[in-house]
């Protein structure tokens, strides 16, 4: 946990290794409480979400057959946007985390689920579940920090290219699903050298992504617009129907991308969230891993609807502590988790969506410029801990 040592005030200086292990045990106990009641209610929740989303999608697409009429266009576009958001957040993200694997339903299972996102589930699970959730906020290991295109920490060296990062971030937000796919492919790194470009494994993965994108683009911008044509012809405005439906799909995708990007930015970027150094996690214990998740995540406060529309990622802290528990349970454990933060005098970062988004964006702007003061040096007076010591 050494990045913290660079801070003037180390937020965990008051915790002894014993405290941290005790904290870990208390979090395990909270986890066990949920495991004991996990069952019927959670199965019903996810099945209902899937049914609602599918009905909403079918309904919106049906309405969009009449997209030549402005009210139908508006209604269909709103419905499709909501349906896409639900599909990605409350359904896809959570199922792919294995949260519903306990049901043993081969359809609703992390190994078989595929979602409406440019990134194939398999690749996303690797970069997200495996890398991001294990190495949360470890600079250089967790690429979710800035997605490899942004400077997210005062400690990172500034370069003139960073001046453009508000723009990159905005473009990334608009085309977020493609950004995620590129990021899962490690496109930047893999395109750099010829050897990497020609690596058969990389090529195979890139092909999968392209195949998926092609199908989705065909669906949204060819097949469904074509289905709207008959009504278009009937009212003598086929082009209106064609382009209207295309536009509706584009807007729905855009809305979904902007929304998911905002929610996800709120998870780890707002002020008060800590980052960690690569070396700080050698020999990390379960307690320390929990502590890192606590310090590295931020919540969004809001209503129940807000939580559902974010796929409960508004409970990012709880999600990072218990990524494999059904997300709809996070609200239930949040008060207990928060009580632990207080008891152990840690900072539970939370706030309304607009504040958190603004805070994250402020950081993007601030770090686009070089630091006003030089980055602090590592405080060598705090000795680094030895893995053996930690394990003992």
């Amino acid at each position: 946990m050494t990045t913290l040592q660079r801070k003037e005030v180390n937020p965990i200086a008051h915790l002894s290794p014993e405290d941290i292990e005790q904290l870990g045990r208390e979090l395990d106990a909270i986890r066990d409480e949920i495991l004991a009641v996990r069952g019927e209610q959670d199965a019903r929740h996810i099945r209902r979400m899937i049914a609602v989303q599918r009905r909403l999608e079918l309904g919106s697409r049906a309405v969009l057959l009449f997209s030549v009429f402005p009210p139908a266009w508006v209604l269909g576009t709103i419905g499709l946007s909501i349906s896409k958001i639900l599909e990605n957040m409350e359904i896809g993200h959570n199922i792919l985390h294995g949260q519903y694997d306990f049901m043993r339903d081969p359809k609703i299972h992390s190994t078989t689920w595929e979602w409406d996102s440019a990134s194939p589930a398999e690749q996303w699970k690797h970069s997200h579940n495996e890398l991001h959730h294990k190495y949360t906020n470890v600079v250089g290991r967790d690429n979710d920090l800035g997605y490899g295109i942004m400077r997210v920490d005062e400690q990172q060296r500034w370069a003139p290219a960073h001046l453009g990062q508000p723009l990159y971030n905005f473009v990334n937000a608009c085309f977020f699903e493609y950004g995620i796919a590129a990021y899962d492919l490690e496109l930047g790194r893999n395109l750099r050298t010829k050897k990497r470009r020609n690596n058969p494994e990389f090529r195979a993965r890139a092909r999968q992504v392209l195949h998926k994108i092609r199908r989705q683009v065909t669906r949204d911008y060819v097949v469904h617009p074509a289905l709207a044509l008959p009504v278009g012809f009937a009212v003598g405005n086929p082009l209106g129907a064609l382009f209207g439906t295309m536009a509706a799909n584009f807007v729905a995708n855009l809305a979904r991308n902007l929304w998911t990007h905002s929610v996800i930015m709120c998870g780890h970027f707002p002020n008060g969230v800590e980052t960690f150094e690569r070396t700080s996690i050698t020999g990390e214990t379960r307690g320390e891993w929990y502590l890192r998740q606590m310090l590295g995540s931020a919540n969004i406060s809001g209503s129940k609807l807000m939580h559902i529309m974010t796929g409960n990622l508004s409970h990012q802290i709880e999600h990072h502590l218990f990524p494999d528990l059904p997300a709809s349970r996070y609200a239930e454990v949040a008060p207990k988790v928060r009580a632990l933060f207080e008891r152990y005098q840690l900072n539970y970062v939370t706030g309304p969506l607009v504040f958190q988004v603004a805070s994250a964006w402020a950081k993007v702007f601030r770090l686009a410029l070089p630091n006003r003061k030089p980055a602090r040096e590592i405080d060598h007076s705090i000795p680094p801990r030895h893995p053996a010591e930690v394990a003992a």
Partner: protein, 364 residues
């Protein structure tokens, strides 16, 4: 050949149309949307609707099931696996078909006997209702009548072992000449299908020998020879507890009549958790001893097995492997997960956080 060409053309057209439909629904398949509306029509996911629930004894119930598309008719004596969601978890259990084969209405029945600590049987006994959907697998099992049918037949059953035999009697009794049924149950009231069996006996269609073990004790093969003197001249089907079947098999083998005895074992689904165990990887043939507390992943890797893994802490689900049979314990919270072969659970376990709590076989 114009006919073939037309059919080829229509097939192409249909395939093409289907591909367009799939494009409309990508990334999922059209069936996923239809499932929301019409769950029984999906031919790739076999389900059945419970049409009637009839109590048999205090702890046995008969379910009349209407299978959805994709069902195949059964042979008398076979079993089907039912998948039932109990507290949100889908559990599979095998049940013998008890109705006559080839019913006009396409329905069939299974008779569920509550077993001790039986999660699924207990659930069905208490909660099965008309209209409920269960998951279904096509009929399986080779405990079936031989053809041509034997002239003289003996059935030896105990407890719920009567269920597959009942299916056989209801389907083929007229084709079977001389039939003797020896059935053991704890009490007269505990005899599943007791009334029907006694009725058949009263009509002289079978010779029924009932044995009530609470009063008369367990039936031994030697006593069986007294009850049915021409024992070894009969084609015999036996179903019941394992030790009864062991006794019978030994007795028949001693008499040199082993091939005339057909047995069906209902394997107990209650696995007892211990510490550590031997894990067999069926495909690679590797057998490793997993010590108590060690993870299956670590133990297998130490033995040279190539394993998929990611986070190694239970959060990425990259290390999952299907367990055919066995019992594992979650090293984080002590939770047990069991799988039995007959039930075909094939539950996916995370090898990085699972330790063996008994012998296990993995499909890897």
């Amino acid at each position: 050949m114009p006919v073939n060409q037309t059919s080829l053309f229509t097939r192409r057209l249909r395939n093409g149309a289907w591909r367009v439909v799939e494009l409309i629904t990508t990334p999922v398949v059209p069936a996923d949307y239809l499932d929301v509306i019409a769950p029984l029509r999906n031919p790739t996911v076999l389900r059945a609707r419970i049409e009637a629930v009839r109590p048999e004894t205090a702890d046995a119930v008969t379910l009349e099931l209407r299978p959805g598309r994709g069902w195949e008719p059964h042979q008398p004596g076979q079993y089907v696996r039912l998948g039932v969601d109990v507290d949100g978890v889908r559990l599979w259990r095998a049940y013998s078909v008890t109705s006559a084969a080839g019913r006009r209405d396409g329905r069939f029945t299974v008779t569920v006997n509550a077993v001790r600590d039986g999660v699924v049987s207990g659930h069905l006994l208490r909660h099965a209702r008309k209209g409920m959907l269960v998951h279904l697998d096509v009929p399986a099992g080779d405990f079936v009548l031989t053809s041509p049918r034997p002239a003289r037949t003996l059935f030896v059953t105990a407890g719920s072992g009567i269920t597959p035999v009942m299916g056989m009697l209801r389907s083929a009794l007229p084709e079977l000449g001389d039939v003797v049924v020896v059935h053991s149950a704890r009490t007269p009231e505990g005899v599943v299908f007791g009334a029907e069996l006694r009725e058949l006996a009263a009509q002289g269609r079978i010779r029924l020998i009932e044995r009530h073990t609470r009063a008369d004790g367990r039936l031994k093969p030697a006593a069986l020879a007294d009850l049915v003197p021409d024992l070894f001249e009969r084609e015999t089907w036996a179903c019941g507890p394992g030790d009864m079947l062991d006794d019978l098999q030994e007795h028949w083998a001693d008499a040199g009549a082993a091939e005339r005895l057909h047995v069906e074992r209902f394997r107990p689904t209650v696995l007892v958790a211990g510490d550590g165990g031997t894990v067999t990887f069926e495909k690679s043939g590797l057998v490793v001893d997993v010590a108590a507390g060690a993870t299956v992943l670590d133990a297998a890797e130490a033995a040279g097995q190539l394993m998929r893994s990611g986070c190694r802490m239970g959060i990425c689900f990259k290390c999952v492997l299907p367990m055919r049979e066995g019992i594992v314990r979650d090293v984080r919270d002590g939770k047990l997960t069991t799988a039995t072969e007959v039930d075909g659970d094939n539950v996916l376990i995370q090898t990085c956080i699972s330790t063996a709590a008994g012998p296990c076989r993995l499909d890897a």
